[in-house]
Symmetry: none
Subunit: 164 residues, 2 copies
DNA sequence: ATTTTTTAAGTCAATAATAATCAATAGGAA
DNA sequence: TTCCTATTGATTATTATTGACTTAAAAAAT
């Protein structure tokens, strides 16, 4: 097992997570890349590395940013549980390979149990079908797991429903 | 939490949005460029910048204007009577090609407009990133449109699942 | 009726301040 | 070794602001 506990990226990651804890009632935090870099005595692009490797959509975060004067980086937390158990559960259920057909059946169950909305089911199904030419059961499983894990622990609430 | 959104363009944007709120029953507002510029102590072309960067069609607005005496700028809010129109709007805005970066920016706007939820935004971002090696702007646009249009049209139809 | 003047909006390029990207390199683990 | 994660810095792109110059519309003057 690797021990990265004292490398800079890890430290910056913990700092950002700490910002979220200080803003319990908000689901986003804002920061300035330049300031953070100065604070940790690193080059600014290191911040991008931390964001890319630890705060991407697959981990339940979205990034918004602006350049120029008044520039900023905003990190939105969409999901926020400790994913370990649920993540393992999803791994167990889907495994290394899954057919499109089985994936769709599982989506129905998830929808029945209100883990996902109809619209989310639609998006996932379209994404899984998209591989078109080379949609192997293996690739389907990988994408499927990534999609499900991303919204694993964010609760379905009123705001997750949009009429049309 | 720091706000960082205190630049002039943001202030002017919020002011204009406020005008729309004061005229809830109307789908347009009018203003005079020169007056606004004086009001905010800026150069008139700054108003054009705000309009160009924040009140374009992708954000659901159209601009009309006239020069000379009785000159004005009119900002219209686009409305949709049918889901079909939303779908067409999506088509127009995305076009045949789009970069991942621009797609993510558009998702930001769509969430802002409550066309999609944050969870849906997560799913779409992951799906668009997934193409990894062969994610051309053309393929990105095709998948992106298919995903969004499936959400915009209320009924689930066969055409949402067609590969290409 | 035509030309000139006045008034107001549009365009474009220059500048400053950020952030993003990309490729090279280093370091540690298997 | 070989692979993956981190670090670094040079280069590129974006955002907001400003002002000089251009264009358009209506009124005034002829």
């Amino acid at each position: 097992m690797q021990d990265y506990s004292d490398n800079l990226s890890q430290v910056i990651e913990r700092y950002i997570l700490g910002l979220f804890q200080n803003e319990e009632d908000e689901n986003f935090i804002s920061l300035r890349r330049k300031e953070l870099a100065e604070m940790f005595g690193c080059v600014p692009s290191q911040i991008n590395y931390v964001l890319r490797s630890r705060f991407g959509p697959e981990r339940g975060y979205l990034i918004e940013s602006r350049r120029g004067e008044y520039g900023y980086i905003k990190i939105l937390r969409i999901t926020y549980d400790e994913p370990k158990e649920k993540s393992k559960h999803i791994n167990d259920i889907i495994g290394d390979e899954i057919s499109l057909h089985d994936a769709c059946r599982l989506l129905e169950v998830l929808k029945e149990r209100s883990f996902i909305t109809d619209r989310e089911r639609l998006l996932i199904e379209i994404a899984l079908r998209n591989e078109s030419s080379n949609k192997t059961p293996r690739k389907t499983a990988r994408l499927f797991k990534r999609l499900l894990k991303s919204l694993m622990s964010s609760e379905i609430s009123e705001e997750n429903f949009i009429d049309n």
